[in-house]
Point group: D3
Chain length 244, copies 6
């Protein structure tokens, strides 16, 4: 299967070039500018000592995320959600996905009463923005936690990170399961799936959608195989970026 | 595994009592009041001849959905989204899921330039509201299409319904995979998955989320087994309700 | 006058069939699904110990109401107010009317620092939704107060309910005063009036509007006669529903 | 009864001083600055040739109204509704009342496909703002229609005004029915009623509300007597202002 | 230059007739109805003891402003911002300008923990509304501070007003610099500038915009000359209005 | 004066290091990532053939701009305006300023019925974001016009760009006039001024604000001298970036 060559020359199980520019921001406690091919997402992690009022006094922290696209990150300019006065369903959905994915690898008790907000702003979009966002946000999060430790908001022995997390899209295009869909592939996929996996290889999220035709169990299995292999590679990129 | 008995006496692979009151509404072209145990959702299908302006002239129809909860459908009263002036992320997400799920079984060309809006209003909530909404919306949709045929908005030979669709939640609670989670089960589940399946047994959506602990591939497989069996039963209930 | 027969066979001073399904909701402290003919309104009463901050410390309670229509409760589907992002004038107006009507029969000092929110959601609309809402909300309110007494949030001797309250629409259609207008009557009425009356026969609200032609004092008097007689009957239905 | 003297020296059936400054605005087609005592409302009528799209082609016109209060028209400053981003229930309710009241005296066919928007902005509030708004808006409306005739948007023989209209508040304060309540009276009234009456003495709206204690039929009749007498006087003021 | 006569007969360095009706409102702590020709703005100052929560405990006060136009203050009716549900950019910009301008002449420490809100509502617009608003708001502010002193919210020796402030528009119309532009002049100006000046002749704001053609330094100087002379006159009007 | 050395070692008339990365975006018709020191703004120009409906048929084009800050572009994270559901006054004000500034150098007739939207998104903020936005937007605009020419949406001889435009901030800090304020300088400036100047040295906007103390004419002149010199340098940077 893997000798099929895609429009950009990749094999079906090949990731696009991935770069992670750690510490891109001078302002945020943690940050990463991540690219999956032409997709570029700026991820920042804002560390605040303290938690929202409804959580106070429980000795636990909070991690949340917001995802957004710049109006001209896409091929056609989109209206800003701030101008429309409301956040669209897709934005809401992805923000919630990113937040859940990162929370899955944080021990909230070990975090203590601290809050981390992950902002994932898509500077340029070419498919896979949500998976790049999750993968980059993990790097920003790790640095923000290190900052919190240096500032003594975290105990020296606290281990809030219980695993790493990365995400990748897979899909069936023209009947063929493929890894890391670019926009032109994604837009004609019969089935599209986003898979979030921890560094230890466990699933955090599996979101498969039949955009064109429903899929059977064997197709589902092929997609999961591709995704698990892809996230192993992304985990390596994260380790390298973090110098571990 | 199936001899484990749950709080409400069910085995792990057992659905709650399901009822479908077809034609509940005197106003809508199709409707169903569906219950999964104490969860009760009123589904209506509104058939309009014509499509939104951006779709006109393409000879194809449109199906969309809106999901909402009554403020006191839940144990604690929730503020109305109309009063807050904005729709929350969860509502957006579920509305989109219901719409995608129903579109997966409609041939838009065969529908012609007609629009169907599915409204799923949760009158009482006890877990599984989105899956009940999808399952009930299918019955309302089928009746609305029949109405359109009678009114000659659809050709006599047009077959817009290419399959049926139903949905069920599954999850891992206390380490045990279970079918059709009630609210108390759902709120303590380690993993929660909603699965949308056609009458022919193909997947339309697989949405699994690790709320507590990430899950491995064998757990994923157990959940899919439960969901596929559950949707076979729901498909039977739909057929009975529709008198087919 | 009363031998004029209406489209649905009623005499001019006859109510449509009224049913009150008390305790419809498993979640709310009080509830009633009320129908006036094809008009069906789900009324729930949510009892909360405590009052909004601006009322705290005065030893008095608060009763408020929200009215809403499901999008396909009507013959043509209406856009949801949550989707439009704002509540319309009619909704605001009726919510305020329902709240005032119920407050008129509650002794706020006897209620103590407790809050009751009445939600009236129109599941199906065929005229008279606001009057059905008030009449049903009274039943839900009575049960919620009983719940508060059982839970000891109210003193055993506290009598917050100082009277009962019911409401009915009347109008002049084709020059003839009529009781309890169905939608087709209401839409062609010259004058339309909603009257809220206590169990003792006192007025809480009189809202008469000349939709077509202004009305004179004698017409006003005929309408009030009809309304007072109609609310006597509704008061009986309420007593029966509450088993008193 | 009428020898009871009120805080401001009036008898119970006496209006506050009424002034109508016709043509206050240099911009609007019709305008009036009306005062009922310290209550001052600027009413403008904007005449537009043409109607909203949903009314076009029916040969009929449209009259609508918007009511608003300046933030410091009241004793305590209120937040602006534009700043809050939403219109409150009371504002909605009064805007609708003013619109209905004026439409009751306009023959929409005679108006032809023209639109009149009445803006009633409360510059200073001391009770009775909605009744002053209706009474002043009539004067602005009459002038705007005259303007339309001069500009030939109305036929020379068209008679869109079929009657005049005025409004007044009445209420029961300390058990005594009174005319034209000032704010301090209104805020302690047991019952408050707004009555809209045409120049010929017919009712357009009767809106009575028991704020404190429900009222009986004889009290209702006393209030209506006061209101009918009061609106006769207001009709005279309108005629004088219009020089008729 | 000054023998050029404008449409309304003024010379290029001449203000329109200015009137300041101090104490127009019975409700506000300070108020002025100011007119620059046909432009009329109602300015009220609301004095509140205490400051917003985020300022509390610092011993300093706060002055803020809101600007708005009545819908028919202009030649064509504008939609209300409350109805649109959002405040436009121009309104925001002017509200901020008015607030900054008045804060420039208040010693916040001397004001103590008190808040003053200036509301500037344009009743009729004919150019220069923002400059009339600033000039009138100063008079309202001065009276509100006097009120605060009488009520002992300010110490007897506190001098919160460190200067007076007034504003005027200037512009280049048909190549000629002119003072105090009326709407017809403003709409065809190549350059439009608003200048805010204290009683001592110092600049608080200089906002020049090339609407048509960019301007050079000598034109800028001519405009500043006109503005400084104009604000000297306005300062006199303010003194007279305040009886100083 | 110029031997005073600032916190970052600059003289009072020295710009921070300026970089312009032209063509940063693969999606937009024109783009530039501009930095003034640590301030980084991504400017994109979106070219659309056609104009908004209200401008059609006049043979003229339209240029508009939107400015926004990423939530963590600043030292403390700011809430997103999309999440708040409304655009703040500052954002509105700057978007309008950027749009006006660019329109000042475009001949709308020569542009023909084409629309250009300039999006200026602040990725990192350290003072001077609005002036960097204007300066970078000019580069993006020039490239988008060239794109339009290549695509034949513009005539081969059309010259829509009549000049270049750049902007810089100046201010008085500790009594000393300075060029190009960094955030720490800006936040303690007595007077802050933004000046927009064309390549030919003419003013498009002069916006001076006394944040701390009002300023006199001689200070104003010093600030204008600095700004004019600074924009000469920025114009050179723009030419270099554009390879002219």
């Amino acid at each position: 299967m893997n000798d099929i060559v895609r429009a950009d020359g990749r094999t079906t199980d090949e990731l696009r070039p991935v770069t992670i520019e750690r510490g891109w921001s001078d302002q945020a406690e943690g940050s990463a500018l991540i690219s999956f091919g032409r997709t570029r997402v700026l991820c920042t992690a804002s560390f605040t000592n303290g938690v929202p009022r409804w959580m106070a006094g429980k000795g636990a922290g909070w991690v949340t995320a917001e995802y957004s696209m710049l109006p001209r990150s896409t091929n056609d300019r989109m209206a800003r959600e701030s101008v429309k006065g409301r956040i669209g369903g897709r934005t809401h959905e992805i923000s919630r996905l990113v937040g859940r994915s990162l929370r899955a690898v944080v021990d909230m008790k070990a975090l203590g009463e601290n809050t981390i907000v992950l902002d994932c702003d898509v500077l340029q979009a070419d498919g896979g923005t949500r998976t790049a966002a999750i993968t980059g946000a993990y790097v920003a999060l790790a640095d923000a936690l290190e900052w919190g430790r240096e500032k003594k908001f975290l105990g020296q022995k606290a281990q809030p990170l219980i695993d790493s997390v990365a995400a990748i899209s897979v899909g069936i295009v023209g009947g063929v399961p493929m890894l890391d869909l670019a926009y032109t592939e994604d837009s004609k996929a019969e089935t599209d799936m986003n898979v979030v996996v921890t560094g230890r290889g466990l699933f955090v999220e599996v979101q498969g959608t039949a955009e064109g035709a429903p899929f059977d169990r064997s197709e589902l299995n092929s997609l999961l195989d591709l995704a698990l292999a892809g996230t192993v590679t992304l985990t390596e990129f994260q380790k390298n970026a973090l110098g571990r």
